[in-house]
């Protein structure tokens, strides 16, 4: 497997005084207009000393820190970095909704929902047995396997409410005869510390992952699929844990790296005739644009390669890759309280999808999937099916 090539972290610029007020940022911002604000106005408020008003407004939380504004900025100002900083100035008890409570929970219990260890282990055992009976004889969920190749972190929303969704990855690991494991403690995949701009919490959540990887002596950590969480982990990895992990012989990989390895090395066999319908792909901001903006390798072509192995008819949505519009649910917006704003934000995504005429929409971030499948499909009457990219692979497997 190719190691992730990294140069330096962040070329971004926090000096908002450089702003030319050109409004390039506004043009591609789906949150522009909500509460009369947009990225340009928010930056003007910041520059003109109205920081407190901005901190007290909900706009920096309706903004999904997707970075499309900064991608267009001719002065290379890191607008999402500034908006994240504004989020960090909110007193913790005033962080919207349950986001801060989730941060406390993960720090105290190792998962956002305070799911007890016994319940978690019971679930993994039962679901593993089910999958073995369904299609994967002999399968069981490997927990705390020392020396496993891949370390996978479950997302608490699946453990809590969508347990069967975990089986797609398990089927792929089974088919590939992969060596993998999940941890029994501090297993949370998502990083709400990055959502609430709590850098200290985000670092601790990343450390849970690094400590698990070192304890279990794994070869690879698979970054969370959740975009914000993958970026939260990547940021901390680059800043604090890179040397430590290298010394321990542990590499950070993304879901695409794993799937492509399995496909290219012939470890899994795919039947693309299972997906003849017109299919499109939604680029999650934090797997592409945000990495690119921070001088890290963006995952634009990898998902397309994977999809084309599994689907007969692929069509791009426009714009795409670095210019794609955010789904509207990133950086805590899915779990946050501003539902109407989130749906309004998603109108541009809905229009992009409709314009493709695709019947199947693939994405690779939990929040993007939920926003498109559970919200936008209904709100904007989209005649589509939505799948995770690993679900697509699992559904295309020849076992």
């Amino acid at each position: 497997m190719e190691a992730i090539e990294l140069e330096k972290l962040s070329i971004v610029n926090y000096d908002a005084n450089l702003c030319l007020t050109c409004s390039s940022c506004v043009n591609g911002c789906p949150a522009a207009g909500i509460d009369g604000l947009d990225p340009r106005k928010a930056i003007r408020m910041y520059v003109l000393g109205l920081e407190e008003e901005l901190v007290n407004s909900k706009w920096p939380w309706v903004c999904t820190l997707c970075g499309r504004c900064a991608y267009a900025c001719p002065m290379n100002i890191d607008l999402p970095g500034i908006f994240k900083y504004i989020r960090s100035l909110r007193p913790r008890e005033k962080v919207p909704g349950v986001l801060h409570k989730g941060v406390i929970n993960v720090l105290e219990t190792g998962n956002n929902l305070r799911i007890p260890k016994d319940d978690y282990l019971m679930l993994m055992e039962e679901l593993g047995e089910e999958l073995a009976n369904e299609c994967c004889p002999g399968f069981r969920v490997p927990i705390d396997v020392v020396g496993a190749e891949y370390l996978f972190f479950p997302n608490s929303k699946e453990v809590f409410g969508e347990p069967d969704d975990m089986k797609w990855w398990w089927k792929i690991f089974y088919a590939a005869k992969a060596s993998w494991t999940i941890p029994s403690e501090n297993w949370e995949s998502v990083d709400w510390g990055s959502f609430t701009a709590d850098d200290e919490a985000s670092k601790k959540i990343a450390k849970f992952k690094v400590d698990n990887a070192k304890k279990l002596k794994v070869r690879y950590i698979i970054a969370p699929d959740c975009g914000g969480s993958s970026w939260g982990f990547r940021y901390n990895y680059e800043k604090y844990f890179k040397d430590e992990m290298k010394k321990a012989g542990i590499e950070l990989v993304y879901i695409y790296d794993v799937l492509i390895r399995f496909i290219k090395e012939g470890l899994i066999k795919i039947d693309k005739s299972k997906h003849p319908q017109l299919t499109t792909y939604h680029d999650p901001c934090k797997h592409g644009r945000i990495l690119e903006m921070n001088n890290l390798k963006p995952y634009y072509e990898e998902p397309r390669f994977i999809i084309k192995q599994c689907c007969e008819n692929f069509v791009e949505m426009y714009p795409n890759r670095g210019n794609n519009f955010c789904c509207g649910a990133g950086s805590g917006a899915w779990a946050g309280p501003y539902e109407k704003e989130r749906v309004y934000y998603g109108r541009m995504k809905a229009e992009q999808i409709r314009n493709t005429r695709a019947k199947l929409v693939i994405t690779s971030c939990s929040n993007c999937r939920d926003q498109i499948m559970k919200s936008l499909k209904k709100e904007y009457n989209l005649d589509i099916e939505v799948k995770y990219i690993w679900q697509l692979v699992a559904d295309s497997l020849i076992i």
Partner: protein, 106 residues
């Protein structure tokens, strides 16, 4: 804290519309209110079975149960739970039962 009113009864709710006072102030009118906003046509014994189980579990464990446990105890599969509570077990059933909003991406 925002206040919601339904048929002359007022409750304090949090930003997500969950009952701020929790089980201490929960009553049948609240259930009627959530039924109304969720667009649930009729409350059945199946709804009440879910509500009572969620409340019992919360009183004992201080959290909402995993759906797996919810399903096992009530005998309702996830699909059925979504039929009963269109917003799902977290945003729908927990809200109706007076539990706090679950702290995950649910």
């Amino acid at each position: 804290m925002p206040i919601v009113e339904f048929k002359g009864h007022k409750w304090e709710v949090d930003e997500d519309g969950f009952l701020s006072g929790g089980l201490d102030v929960w009553d049948r009118d609240w259930v009627e209110y959530v039924k109304h906003i969720e667009g649930i046509p009729e409350l059945t014994d199946e709804h009440w079975k879910c509500i009572h189980f969620l409340q019992d579990y919360y009183r004992t464990h201080g959290i909402a149960p995993m759906v797996r446990i919810f399903s096992k105890v009530t005998g309702f599969k996830l699909k059925k739970i979504y039929e009963l509570f269109p917003s799902g077990p977290g945003k729908g059933a927990c809200k109706m039962a007076g539990l706090p909003k679950p702290t995950g991406c649910v």
